[in-house]
Symmetry: C2
């Protein structure tokens, strides 16, 4: 079967990131779609230094990609609303499917674009336009489709969240953090879209539309930025038990649907309050499911590419075999992998050990000697005074946090510790999981 051909318009960080993910995960992609997916044409004014596209066809005019009869799916990754709109409408007119990461384009011109796409029976997919790699469009549009959505509230601008987090955690002033965000590449040279809430309003417009089944109405979104917030406000909010977050909120009320972006106090105990740095999160409340939350990286080349490629797979599957559904176990039935399950003995983990020992000299030395002989390193020890009503029974708990080691080695060490004369009970062992989030 012939491969599915992708044309990329715009090779900035997201464009090149998508190109890279498509190339790196090409095997897994074929296993998912049941057909090869290849980038056949790239349109960009010129390659940046370090960009390597092999012998993929390159045009300096993005319209050459859209008009290439070979291309099945056009990726619009240029940004902006003028050329991008013309390009997308041309792609649709040419009968091509479109995948875009362009929130402004969808929020402002989406109604027109979707109407054109419906008329030509092509797909316009835009998962990457909201909250980067978090599959929030899919979650609301399909995953929660059984619900009548009641409200949603999200941290959907990473730059703004980074600024608010730094202001709170490091007691820094708004202008100071903004400069750092620009230096780090989180904020544009003109940061207006981020800090005045326009970017968040674009995204909220899209989320509200799919949640409530209403047309895109960016112009009706109330938008207030974070540039007026001070250290004082963050401090007083803390004192009252709240965090200040820049939220996009849309809620169904008997009189209409709320559509608003502004700084917001939320209870410090809520999950949204604890979403920090450049991370995004959206809470969606449905009548059946209650509140659900979706969290992840809201921007960046690779996370955005993750969403772009997911859209490509959806479209490619539809082109490839419209009558067949997503494979039951994610990959096509004939390409399940037979990679081994790791035996528990070979799992590597850090461990918490609670050892109940008789309180006499040398016990701790005996225990640490066993660990040392097993090459198990200790990260922390807590040794407590004898506890409990029965003071005559001089047993003390020794708590040890170890560094990472193979499970089999730990099993052996535990057996040896349990055999020590001074150790009275079975050792309580709990594994530690280090999350890099």
């Amino acid at each position: 079967m012939s491969s599915i051909k992708i044309g990329i318009c715009g090779l900035g960080t997201v464009g090149y990131g998508s190109y890279t993910v498509l190339k790196n995960n090409s095997l897994e992609l074929a296993r998912r779609v049941g057909r090869e997916v290849v980038v056949s044409h790239i349109g960009t004014r010129q390659l940046r230094s370090g960009q390597d596209i092999g012998n993929t066809r390159l045009s300096s005019d993005v319209f050459a990609v859209v008009n290439d009869p070979e291309v099945d799916i056009v990726l619009e990754l240029m940004g902006g609303t003028d050329v991008a709109k013309k390009l997308v409408l041309q792609a649709i007119a040419n009968g091509k499917h479109v995948v875009t990461a362009n929130k402004a384009l969808i929020a402002v011109h989406g109604n027109e674009i979707f109407a054109a796409a419906a008329a030509k029976k092509v797909m316009v997919a835009y998962e990457a336009s909201v909250a980067g790699g978090i599959p929030i469009i899919k979650a609301i549009r399909e995953g929660l489709a059984g619900n009548s959505i009641q409200w949603l509230a999200g941290i959907i601008n990473g730059t703004g969240n980074f600024i608010l987090t730094e202001m709170r955690e490091k007691h820094r002033a708004f202008a100071d953090v903004l400069k750092e965000a620009q230096a780090l590449g989180y904020a544009e040279a003109d940061p207006t879209f981020d800090i005045e809430g326009i970017d968040a309003a674009h995204k909220l417009t899209i989320l509200a539309s799919i949640a409530f089944g209403i047309p895109l109405q960016f112009e009706k979104t109330y938008t207030e930025g974070i540039s007026r917030l001070t250290q004082e406000d963050i401090h007083y909010a803390d004192e009252l038990g709240y965090r200040i977050k820049h939220l996009g909120i849309s809620r169904k009320t008997p009189n209409g649907i709320e559509l608003r972006v502004h700084p917001t106090l939320i209870d410090e105990e809520s999950l949204l309050a604890n979403v920090n740095g450049v991370m995004n999160a959206v809470m969606v409340n449905g009548d059946a499911v209650g509140s659900t939350l979706y969290y992840g990286a809201g921007a960046g080349a690779a996370p955005t590419a993750s969403a772009v490629v997911a859209d490509i797979i959806d479209v490619a599957r539809m082109i490839s075999s419209p009558e067949s559904s997503v494979p039951a176990l994610a990959f096509q039935d004939d390409s399940l992998s037979d990679v081994a399950i790791l035996p528990m003995d070979d799992v590597v983990s850090a461990y918490y050990l609670r050892i109940t020992a008789v309180d006499r000299a040398g016990v701790l030395a005996d225990i640490t000697e066993v660990l040392g002989e097993c090459q198990i390193n200790i990260e922390a020890i807590i040794q407590k005074e004898p506890r409990g009503a029965d003071a005559a029974n001089q047993q003390v708990p020794v708590i040890i946090l170890t560094r990472e080691i193979r499970e089999a080695v730990m099993n052996d060490a535990i057996k040896r510790i349990e055999n020590l004369d001074a150790v009275a009970e079975k050792v309580m062992r709990i594994r530690v999981f280090k999350i890099a989030d």
Copy 2:
């Protein structure tokens, strides 16, 4: 166009919950699918008191539903693995699509069931089998399809998480909380599946399979429950900066894939550590997207029904018009709703106000008088001593947290406060959002 006919097998809490959601949201469902979706046949030994199914056809034998030529989609909501397996295979043999919430069935017999379904070209959807209403199957299988998944870790048994949360927050013993969980209906009379990790292992088996593209291998999952955990362990974990959670973990390593369920220490600052009570959450790490988190209710009639109905919509769309994709804005183009956007003036919110006032007698009285006249109730006030180096400039911040009021009323009140002689600067106003999660 004729409607799509659903047959429900098993009318317990999930079955009746699904029936109810299908009925309550029937209009939205038709707007999403483009065709009516109706329950045409229910199989259950007998209706429970309070169950009202109108004049829907009722059979005491669930196989009558599966063999009903009218039925397009069979919902298997009985639980168990023996009759359920026979029923699902019979439905497939009859050419019907199947939606199930049965994790044990999928984890243990899924390979066989999916092979049968592929041979008959029918769908078997099982979103409800893992993490209740959270669309985690869809997120991993489709939303993160562009990634090579690195690892996932989840709190996927609500009963276990409820017990651990109560043990920690209320210093209660395991056995004591277990009894309460049983009284509350969270835990079964025989709680073995929940507290010994078998239920979590079923779910982890499914998640790992779709994340890594491997066959279902429940028998290879390492499973350890929470029944041995003591108050002491929870206390010491706290002291070390950790929480104990019952996690299902699957990770790709060079030597194979880890598949393990056990009590786990995780950093108290991580989002997973802060998922409490009966809530579920799954963290999924992909090479492109990084870490993402999905949070929501993991059990209960309505949340599970939410997932069942989402699956029904996926299947119904595929039956209805395989060549057309999910509607761009979630609902069929001709059925977007023209419900109004609520003007900002009509939004009701609680407010944080920071008022900079001259520090003299009567100022606070003037401010509260304005609020009183506007019928704005006060929830909290903070009034501080004069701050700043310039002690001669006797200005003090007054922070007021109000109860809910219409925005227009608040705008008016702020104007009047700013007009007070003693008020020096513009009032800083931040809205408060109350999240019921």
